[in-house]
Subunit: 415 residues, 2 copies
């Protein structure tokens, strides 16, 4: 079964928003064993939407669409799909009723254009929207299937998980199991150099490398009739990878580093606290992205000004005077200071120059120090990108938190 993702919205073509829907849906469909060979984006233009739909159905059996279900005049996805399948539009009473209830609950009344959202191609399967006003739908005819969901990511995801995934299960004839090997401290081309023959030799499972910011992942994907069978097929391949690059592997299927860190901290019943300067709170944000972080995370201090490093974190004024804020010593004192302040088991300190300005010959933009302080593990590491400006402010800030999380994972091995 081959599916294609077609996202509708001029705001995507203007670059006003990033297409997270395509990534989300691709991941979900892969897990269902439904292949995706193409993702496309087209604007709110009926002619081009019609052509794109035709084009998609020339290559795929299922077209999963997002966007264009809103109340405004340029929302045309449903109408175009109805036309493609030669179906009339009809009022869907249940959807109308739900919409009126929704507005009543908010104490407002729908504008006339809201009611357009209750019109459906005849015979469509309608998916309720628990987080917004536009219902989703599926149309199935002559072996072709169109699934339509709203564009806002949180509405689409809630609908996919609640209604669309269960409905799609009937189209899946195999199960895919993917295992991800997380590798740090070695570049993508070096990984591939060591594993090239193996990657070419295997077709099921497949082995593919992905360079992420600050790490490399190897994805091992097996297809089989059952989940158990597919899982078992991945095991010997993982063993081969371990033999080739074992010293650089920091985990298998550990998700993001923050995910891995929070679950280990929970498991070991340890508290963590963070002190940040250049990364501006991104580390505490990444840790608290994980539900349940409140069981392991107590305090994050973003001491952007030097005076705050002294006052709140207890960094020595003499240290600052002697070696400056961007230094091994200050990173270590920040980590120890926030650990003490929060009464935590592990403290992290990050200080650096994220740019674009503020760099000097001696301390260029991109120079970052990360410290971890705990009873059993204490270390400071330096990051300095090979490239001038190091890929920009956002990238540098992200890399600082990547390094911090990697060091936290290392510290956790001691507990």
């Amino acid at each position: 079964m081959v599916a294609e993702i077609l996202c509708v919205g001029t705001e995507l073509l203007l670059g006003d928003i990033v297409n997270t829907n395509a990534a989300y849906l691709s991941k979900q469909l892969a897990a269902l064993g439904i292949d995706v060979y193409h993702q496309s984006v087209v604007g709110d233009n009926q002619g081009r939407l019609r052509d794109s739909l035709k084009n998609a159905f020339s290559r795929a059996d299922i077209v999963i669409m997002t966007g264009g279900l809103g109340p405004t005049y340029d929302d045309l996805t449903k109408e175009t799909v109805a036309e493609y399948f030669s179906l009339p539009m009809e009022l869907h009473e249940e959807s109308k009723k739900r919409m009126l209830e929704y507005f009543a609950r908010r104490g407002t009344t729908p504008t006339p254009n809201n009611l357009k959202q209750a019109l459906m191609p005849a015979g469509a399967v309608v998916f309720e929207n628990d987080t917004g006003t536009a219902p989703g739908l599926a149309v199935e005819k002559d072996g072709k299937v169109a699934v339509l969901m709203p564009g806002p990511p949180f509405e689409m995801q809630a609908m996919f998980e609640g209604s669309v995934r269960p409905w799609l299960l009937k189209f899946s004839d195999k199960v895919l199991v993917s295992r991800t090997v997380h590798i740090a401290g070695i570049g993508e081309s070096a990984v591939e150099h060591r594993l090239k023959d193996m990657m070419l030799a295997h077709t099921n499972p497949t082995v593919a490398p992905y360079a992420k910011q600050g790490e490399v992942q190897l994805r091992v994907t097996a297809a089989a009739k059952t989940r158990e069978e597919a899982y078992a097929m991945t095991l010997p391949v993982l063993e081969e990878i371990r033999e080739a690059v074992g010293e650089y592997i920091y985990g298998i299927d550990v998700g993001t580093q923050e995910n891995a860190a929070v679950s280990l901290l929970r498991e070991k019943r340890l508290w963590i606290a963070t002190a940040e300067s250049c990364s501006g709170g991104l580390l505490s944000k990444r840790i608290t992205d994980i539900p349940g972080a409140s069981e392991v995370f107590r305090l994050g201090v973003c001491a952007y000004a030097d005076a705050m490093k002294v006052k709140v974190l207890g960094v020595g004024q003499d240290t600052l005077d002697r070696v400056g804020a961007v230094s091994e010593e200050v990173a270590a004192e920040m980590a120890a200071g926030v650990r003490r302040l929060a009464g935590a088991d592990i403290g992290v300190g990050i200080t650096g120059i994220a740019g674009p300005s503020g760099g000097t010959e001696e301390k260029p933009v991109g120079l970052i120090y990360v410290a971890v302080d705990s009873e059993r593990y204490r270390a400071v590491e330096k990051y300095l990108p090979a490239h001038r400006q190091g890929g920009g402010r956002d990238h540098l800030r992200y890399m600082a938190t990547q390094m911090a999380l990697r060091m936290v994972l290392r510290a956790l091995k001691e507990y």
Copy 2:
């Protein structure tokens, strides 16, 4: 001139990464007056890549591609483009020299597959890569143009800005000017209801609404021969919009709210400090995303545990006992506390329940209080989404910071 964006990479089709490149390039091309009607994604598969390239050239004059220029065996973009234009591949000496220098600087040596990155279709214009190893290129033949850039976003963006944009200028025959009207406190369909006739009537400038998380934007876009002419054409339309929804407009072309807040704080020489609970540092992260934030931002405290609210921010233990952490009072005490601790002009406090668990009947998931404390403006606002779970943890955390920034912008009007 019509361009199409074609991103190459199986990791995109598997949903392992989000396609930020398409959004970035769309925005850049729009600003150059080059229309984009389609974005496509295809995997590292030569047959499908060939078909997608043909398909793209059937609809566009310029195809802008990213990805597939890496050193590994499945990087095939250059080879496929060479084949499409019937051009042989040749070693590009300058690129080879630069690559050897790059590895020497890092103290490593290239693996043999790295050198594949120096092979180019004959006659290609080569764009240097200042932040990675894969050069970009452009091939122009028979009125069709292919531009190829590396996939990693920071490499691609640096190359686009440094080399590709200047090179593309020759294809642009008009200038687009876009003005963005930022609206808060009214929904998208209500905005559209008030402005529908106007949006339909105008074709140049066009007027289009975009619902963002927690705000609505109206984008007014004019096309003309010169920037001045296009700019002037937007003015009467902005005036019409002001007449229709003026009371909800909080700015024109103010960029993101954090951008607007940081520039106003700089202009008025004020210091801000943040105290966060449920938002986990996201507000300090958003403020420090803006270069130059160090001139206005001193301290952010993420007091995730109640004990930290008391110890670091000076929130009253009695207040916590009496009304609980998620309350108007605690939000206000957090804002005042961090302002005092940092010696700042404006303090912000955020407390709430981001979920997925932790909600009660009385204080459900999604309940958030935001407080701003300053000499001239002091307020606490409550947020409670209409939907159960309110769109999920990430969305709620984001909405909390949206509300906080909106209140900070309001406070700044008093200075």
